[in-house]
Symmetry: C2
């Protein structure tokens, strides 16, 4: 039996925790779900992490970071004129809704978990900055004008979170298509592009 070195095991546990949290939600996921998934003893987690709370927070950080990295990567190989549509597609998450579910869950749970709150706060700020950078670049390239208010990025991020919550409540409340068009309109409005 080849043993796994410390740092690798740590990462492995974080990824397993991430998977479990994605499936069951932050409050419903248990340490034993993670150890069972990894096929390891139930005590192992506490050799690598102070507490389940800490591991949970670490798993959410992992999720957010890899997602932002992925967006950044997609942006890099797409010409700016297509960024608006790309952003809309990204934010409305045609592919997998689970990540959005986890994000909303984390924002909510953060009110009762200071450790998680730290991670979510940092992620939110990072996320706003990505949006700001995108807007700046679009304006530089002559696509639209600079939004009137500096709070444009914050407004967009809040709108996306709110829309996601509504979409999860079902079609009667809001369809994905409606959410998508609301978001597209808002971006174009912010950039001074009348739709």
């Amino acid at each position: 039996m080849t043993r796994i070195s410390g740092a690798d095991r740590r990462q492995q546990i974080i990824e397993a925790a991430h998977a479990v949290i994605l499936e069951k939600g932050l409050a419903q996921a248990a340490t034993r779900d993670v150890t069972r998934r990894l096929g390891v003893g139930s005590g192992l987690l506490h050799h690598y992490f102070k507490s389940w709370q800490t591991l949970r927070a670490e798993a959410v950080r992992h999720s957010v970071e890899s997602e932002i990295a992925q967006l950044q990567q997609t942006l890099d190989r797409t010409p700016p004129p297509q960024w608006i549509e790309l952003l809309v597609d990204w934010m409305t998450a045609d592919g997998d809704l689970h990540h959005w579910s986890l994000w909303l869950n984390a924002v909510d749970e953060a009110r009762r978990d200071t450790e998680l709150a730290e991670v979510v706060r940092a992620a939110y700020i990072q996320w706003q900055q990505v949006v700001i950078r995108i807007i700046d670049r679009l304006v530089e390239d002559g696509i639209g004008h600079r939004p009137g208010t500096p709070a444009a990025a914050g407004r967009l991020c809040a709108l996306v979170d709110g829309l996601a919550g509504a979409v999860f409540l079902g079609e009667q409340v809001m369809t994905p298509q409606t959410a998508k068009s609301i978001l597209r309109d808002q971006i174009k409005l912010d950039l001074g592009l009348s739709s």
Copy 2:
């Protein structure tokens, strides 16, 4: 010891559950918190409610209904020209943030609780309709023009939820003042009133 008749007891339990949920959050609140608060035996809840899940959902319904009723009442004794500012104040909840916290919590929890989902969905739709009615009345009174898109109410509600989530994450993410001015701008924009 005067005994309490069935229907009154039911209402009393719902209100106690509401208070507990407001304090501890939906996932953290326990049946025993409710019985302890009422000073009754731990088995009493199950005489009036099929399960804790049911009681929780009922408590959220109670919360939402009384809040919408209260808003309606405030609107009734305020002249329409002041409605915009009243709505902004209401949505950003200067008074007590707990109700918003519970609402966001319920929207999140609804993904894992079908009974709660039913209540939250109905509440969301009701909430959108209140906003639609307000807009209609404002337009009738000559205050602003009818919003271009019929999704205006949905967009407003989503924006409010998103802003609330951001504000709860702390001042670094979004200050209440910023949220308030974003919301005010959006309402005026929807009504065609350039700020």
